[in-house]
C-alpha cells in the first residue's frame, strides 16, 4: 500500500475510535444532536485534510457542502418567496380577499427565463432578460453614480487648511486621501508617458496601491485565521469536550 493510503486508513480508524470512546463515556450523546456533532467534526477534519494533499475525503466533504447549500437555499426560496408570495396569494388567498392575479405577471416573466433550457422556445426568455436588464440598469445607474462616485468625491475635496482650525491631524488624513487619489489616477493614465514629474507622481501611486494591497492581505489573513479558530473551538469544546479558556 502507498504511504498516503495507509495515512488515510489510519486517520479514518482513529476518527472512528475517538467517536466510539466519546460515545461510550457519554461525552457525545447517542442521539441526533450527537450524530450531528460527529458529522460536523468529520467534515471539518475532511476539509482541513486538503492542507496535507487533495484526497477523497476532502472531495466528499466539498461535494456534500455544495449539495446541502443548494438544497437549503431552494427550501428557503420556496418557503420565503415562492410559497408566500406566489402560491398562497394565487391559490390560498386570505379570508375576504380574492386571488392576487397581478402576481401572474412576474411569475410568467420568471418562468419564461426557464425556456433557456428548451432550445426551440428559448428566444422567449429574451423578453424576461430584456425586462431584467432594463429595470436593473434603471435602478442601479443613478444609485451607483450617487453612492460610489459623487459621495466618494466629496471627502476628497475637503479643505486641508482652514482659517479657524488651521492644520490638524484630520487635515493630514485629508491630504493623504487627496494625494492617494491623484497619484493612483496618474498611475492609471496610460496615455501619458510616465517620465519626469508624471513618473514621480505615478511612483507615489504605486506605493499607495502596494500599501492598500498589503492592508487587504493582512485583513484577509486575520479573517481566515478567525475561521480556523472557530473550527478549532468547535472541535475541542463541542466534539472532544476539552476544557478551553
Amino acid at each position: 500500500m502507498r504511504r498516503d493510503t495507509i495515512l488515510f486508513v489510519g486517520f479514518v480508524a482513529l476518527f472512528a475510535a475517538v467517536n466510539a470512546y466519546l460515545l461510550s463515556v457519554g461525552k457525545v450523546q447517542g442521539d441526533w444532536a450527537g450524530f450531528g456533532v460527529i458529522v460536523a467534526a468529520g467534515l471539518t477534519l475532511a476539509m482541513y485534510s486538503f492542507l496535507y494533499r487533495d484526497n477523497p475525503t476532502f472531495k466528499l466533504a466539498e461535494h456534500l457542502y455544495v449539495g446541502v447549500v443548494a438544497a437549503y437555499q431552494l427550501a428557503q426560496y420556496w418557503y420565503n418567496n415562492l410559497l408566500s408570495d406566489v402560491y398562497n396569494p394565487l391559490f390560498r388567498p386570505e379570508p375576504g380577499k380574492g386571488a392576487a392575479w397581478g402576481v401572474l405577471i412576474p411569475t410568467a416573466l420568471g418562468l419564461m427565463m426557464l425556456t433557456r433550457f428548451v432550445p426551440k422556445i428559448s428566444p422567449v426568455s429574451r423578453i424576461s432578460f430584456a425586462f431584467f436588464v432594463g429595470v436593473g440598469a434603471g435602478l442601479s445607474i443613478p444609485r451607483t453614480i450617487s453612492s460610489f462616485l459623487l459621495q466618494q468625491i466629496e471627502p476628497t475635496f475637503k479643505p486641508i487648511w482652514t482659517a479657524s482650525a488651521g492644520f490638524t491631524m484630520a487635515s493630514l488624513d485629508t491630504f493623504l486621501i487627496l494625494l492617494g487619489v491623484v497619484s493612483v489616477l496618474v498611475y492609471f493614465s496610460f496615455s501619458i508617458e510616465h517620465r519626469g514629474a508624471v513618473g514621480g507622481v505615478s511612483r507615489v501611486g504605486i506605493w499607495f496601491l502596494m500599501i492598500s494591497f498589503g492592508a487587504s492581505f493582512g485583513y484577509t489573513i486575520m479573517a481566515r485565521l478567525s475561521l480556523l479558530i472557530g473550527r478549532m473551538t468547535f472541535l475541542l469544546r463541542d466534539w472532544l469536550h476539552v476544557q478551553i479558556q
Binding site: Y77, S84, S146, S147, Q152, V242, Q245
Partner: protein, 270 residues
C-alpha cells in the same frame, strides 16, 4: 540556506495549528481597546435607547462566516436587549435565516424578551436593491408577514413602521458586497444612519464609506466583535478568540521576518 528557503509549507501549518490550540487550552488575557469606528456603533445604540427607538439588523451571512459574524450579532443583540432597544431582523441571504433565528433565540432567552413586542424577524427575501427600495417606499406592503406568518400591520414592533426611515439605526452584518447594496439603495436613498459589521476581508472596502459618512461605524472581523463585546461589558467568544488570533499573528510575522532574513542572507552568500 537553500533548505530553509524551501521549507515544507506543512511545517508552517503545524506552527499555525499550535498557535491556535495552545492559547485556547492555556489562555492569557490580552487587552482589547475599542477603536472609534466600533465606539460609534455603541454610542449610536445608546442614543437609540435614550429615545426608546428601533434598530434594523440585517443578518446577511451564512454558516461559513459564523466564526466572525455571530459574535458581532450576539454582542449587538445583547446590548440592544439590555438597553430596551427593539430589534427587527431581516436577511437578503438565504442562508441568513438560520443565522438570525439562532442569534435571536440565544439572546432573547437570556433577557426574557418577547417576540412581536421586543423583537421580530422578517425572514429572507430575494431582490437585493429592488427589495430595499420597496422597503423604503412601503415597509408593510413589501413585508406583509414576518417569518412566522404574523401580520406586520398587527405586530406591536412593526405596526407603525411605514418606511426604512422609521428605523433609528440600521446595522448590516455581512461578508459580501451586500453592505454596498444597502448603502446604495437604502442609506443613500432614505438617509437613515447605518453601520456595517463585516468580515475582516471586507473591512478595507468599507473605509471609503466611513470616510464619506455613508456609514457611521464599522466592526471589522473578530477584532471588531471583541471590541464591541468589551464596550457592551459582555465578553464572550470574540474576546476569548482574540488571544489565539494575536498569537498566530505573531507566528506569521515571525515567519515573514525569518523568510526575508534567509532570503537576503542567501543573496549575500557566494
Amino acid at each position: 540556506m537553500n533548505r530553509l528557503l524551501n521549507i515544507d509549507r506543512r511545517i508552517i501549518f503545524l506552527f499555525v495549528f499550535a498557535g491556535v490550540v495552545i492559547p485556547l487550552l492555556w489562555s492569557f488575557n490580552l487587552p482589547v481597546k475599542p477603536t472609534p469606528t466600533v465606539q460609534a456603533i455603541y454610542d449610536t445604540v445608546e442614543a437609540v435607547a435614550q429615545k426608546n427607538g428601533r434598530v434594523l439588523i440585517a443578518f446577511d451571512y451564512g454558516p461559513s462566516l459564523v466564526a466572525e459574524l455571530r459574535p458581532m450579532a450576539l454582542a449587538l443583540l445583547r446590548h440592544c436587549f439590555r438597553r430596551g432597544v427593539k430589534v427587527v431582523g431581516i436577511t437578503l441571504h438565504p442562508e441568513g435565516v438560520g443565522m438570525a433565528q439562532d442569534a435571536f433565540e440565544t439572546v432573547s432567552k437570556e433577557f426574557s424578551r418577547e417576540y412581536g413586542r421586543d423583537y421580530a424577524f422578517m425572514g429572507f427575501k430575494p431582490g437585493g436593491g429592488a427589495f430595499i427600495l420597496n422597503m423604503g417606499q412601503d415597509f408593510q406592503a413589501t413585508l406583509p408577514k414576518d417569518s412566522r406568518g404574523n401580520d406586520t400591520r398587527a405586530m406591536e414592533i412593526t405596526k407603525d413602521i411605514r418606511s426604512l426611515k422609521d428605523f433609528d439605526y440600521v446595522v448590516d452584518l455581512a461578508g459580501s458586497a451586500v453592505t454596498e447594496i444597502w448603502i446604495a439603495y437604502g442609506q443613500e436613498r432614505y438617509r437613515f444612519p447605518m453601520a456595517s459589521g463585516c468580515t475582516a476581508v471586507m473591512a478595507p472596502d468599507m473605509f471609503p464609506f466611513l470616510q464619506a459618512g455613508q456609514l457611521n461605524g464599522m466592526m471589522g472581523g473578530l477584532a471588531g466583535a471583541a471590541e464591541y463585546e468589551t464596550l457592551a461589558g459582555a465578553s464572550d467568544a470574540a474576546t476569548r478568540n482574540m488571544t489565539p488570533q494575536s498569537v498566530v499573528h505573531l507566528v506569521i510575522l515571525t515567519f515573514i521576518l525569518f523568510g526575508n532574513l534567509v532570503y537576503f542572507l542567501g543573496r549575500r552568500a557566494p
